[in-house]
């Protein structure tokens, strides 16, 4: 909704104190937002295209069709993120569909990190991927946080929420039922909030 995919029933949005309306992902991206969908297969990867093409897609889309990124820049971006995120692949020309779920997820993260967004929304980024990649992604999120990027980390796995987040908003049936910060964040407290309200 924040990313302009669905229309809000109510409420308003302010960025830097300016009210704004986002009704298409393009606008959200222009505002420095990034969104990594929980539906990796349906809303994330372009399966037959190469890792390189998947990785540069958001960046190229924001540049427009007629300002193609130089091939050297594309290769440099790919090399950088394949190393930085430890993406396991023979080379950047491999179709993304051939990778494991965890590595696909890393390419999608790279697609958005290349945009250097101000706020990145990660919707269940660790769903359906192996334990190793999961730990790496959690680590990555923590390092992004330390670099000062705002991250909204949506998850239904309490353990990783407790590990990763500074501030937790607990939602139940589309309503916010509580907010925790710092030392308050424990699995116990979150469970209480989820269960408590009628």
């Amino acid at each position: 909704m924040l990313f302009g995919i669905d229309v809000a029933d109510s409420g308003s949005l302010q960025i830097d104190g300016q009210p704004c309306v986002i009704n298409h992902p393009r606008k959200a991206i222009a505002k420095g937002l990034a969104f990594c969908s929980e539906d990796r297969k349906g809303e994330g990867v372009i399966p037959t295209l190469s890792i390189r093409e998947n990785l540069i897609l958001a960046m190229q889309a924001s540049r427009g069709a007629f300002r193609l990124l130089l091939r050297a820049e594309q290769d440099q971006l790919c090399d950088h993120y394949i190393n930085a995120l430890n993406i396991k692949t023979p080379n950047a020309a491999t179709p993304i569909g051939n990778l494991s779920g965890g590595n696909q997820q890393k390419v999608l993260l790279a697609r958005w990190l290349a945009m250097q967004p101000r706020l990145i929304i990660l919707d269940e980024p660790t769903r359906g991927i192996d334990v190793g990649a999961k730990a790496e992604i959690e680590k990555l999120v923590r390092s992004l946080r330390e670099k000062g990027m705002a991250v909204i980390f949506i998850s239904s796995e309490l353990e990783e929420v407790v590990h990763t987040c500074d501030r937790v908003a607990v939602l139940r049936d589309r309503r916010k039922v509580g907010e925790l910060t710092g030392g308050e964040i424990t699995e116990q407290r979150v469970m209480e909030l989820v269960a408590h309200h009628e």
């Binding site: 393009r26 969104f35 349906g42 037959t48 295209l49 897609l57 069709a65």
Partner: protein
């Protein structure tokens, strides 16, 4: 990675060219053996003549349509209206040339603008209104011929305009001018697709439209553009078709050519489900169809039963392309070898 050949390969990487080429070569081998003087070339008045040149010349319309159709199919759509759009551009140009004083330099852009707009209308129906491409373009496939009839007043409009006649019958540097046109369009389209991000966007939208939109691609612009481009190609083909016979015959021109174009694209290695496309493959596919048609004419196959051998070749090439079929056949041979 940087030598010219591998770079060129990357430009035309969608699907496999092999099966279309194999089909074409088989057909040419057949012609070499069974058709007298198939490969004979003659030079008359400095122009090249011969059956092969004929095929290239006759196939120019299908090749042009196939270029536009490739991009439409790559976005996961299909454009059935190209045959009717051919009729419209031919009719419009013929009427303008005979009934007004406008110069050809104005008539051709006018006719092409008309078909581009109609193509964009198809694109609107598909992208904005969300109608299935096969239904959306069916509207103009049926209605387009009616529009062409309206333009010509139901008559066959004949013309003798030198410039217009040159378009479909003239020679340039010894080869038919139509071939020059096809070559220019192929090069221009390839450059447009691979030297800008257009090709990437087309393939991304065709492969996973939702993911493309979420990545910030304006998917409806992409779709609108490819249908408009298909309209442009159809318009050009229509001008050539009218020029060929020095007349605009709205009821017959481009009939069933949409199917030839779709076939050319599919044989050329672009999947009907969208995604990766191969412009060169589509051109080879179009040549395959035209070679087949010409071969049947030279062999004296009656036009009424000509679709039968055509269908057989189509089935053969499609089966060869199917990976499932190939592994199945390989399995048969493997089993026989084991027993």
């Amino acid at each position: 990675m940087n030598d010219p050949l591998s770079k060129l390969k990357e430009w035309f990487q969608g699907g496999s060219l092999m099966w279309a080429l194999l089909g074409l070569l088989t057909l040419l081998a057949y012609d070499f053996v069974f058709v007298d003087g198939f490969f004979r070339l003659e030079v008359r008045d400095g122009h090249l003549y011969g059956t092969v040149i004929d095929i290239l010349n006759q196939g120019s319309k299908t090749m042009l349509l196939a270029l536009g159709m490739t991009l439409v199919i790559a976005t996961g759509g299909v454009d059935l209206s190209v045959g009717s759009l051919m009729a419209i551009s031919g009719a419009l140009a013929a009427v303008l040339v005979t009934q007004t004083e406008l110069s050809l330099a104005l008539v051709i852009p006018l006719a092409l603008t008309a078909t581009v707009l109609l193509g964009a209308f198809n694109g609107m129906l598909v992208s904005v209104a969300g109608i299935q491409p096969i239904v959306a373009t069916l509207i103009l496939m049926v209605g387009g011929r009616g529009i062409a009839m309206l333009i010509t007043g139901g008559q066959i409009v004949t013309f003798e305009h030198t410039g217009f006649v040159f378009l479909g019958n003239g020679h340039f540097l010894g080869i038919p001018f139509t071939l020059t046109l096809v070559l220019l369009m192929l090069i221009a389209t390839s450059l447009l697709m691979r030297r800008t991000a257009c090709g990437l966007f087309v393939e991304a939208v065709g492969d996973n439209e939702t993911a493309s939109r979420f990545s910030g691609i304006s998917t409806w612009t992409v779709k609108l553009s490819v249908y408009g481009f298909s309209g442009l190609c159809a318009g050009l083909a229509g001008l050539i078709a009218a020029s060929n016979i020095k007349a605009a015959d709205s009821s017959r021109v481009g009939e069933m050519m949409e199917l030839d174009a779709i076939f050319a694209v599919v044989v050329g290695g672009t999947a009907l489900t969208g995604g990766r496309f191969n412009l060169l493959g589509s051109i080879i596919g179009a040549l395959l169809i035209q070679t087949l048609t010409t071969t049947m004419i030279t062999q004296g196959v009656p036009p009424a039963i000509a679709p039968v051998p055509k269908a057989i070749v189509i089935v053969a090439v499609c089966l060869l392309q199917s990976e499932k079929f190939r592994t199945e056949v390989a399995g048969w041979f493997g089993r026989r070898a084991n027993t």
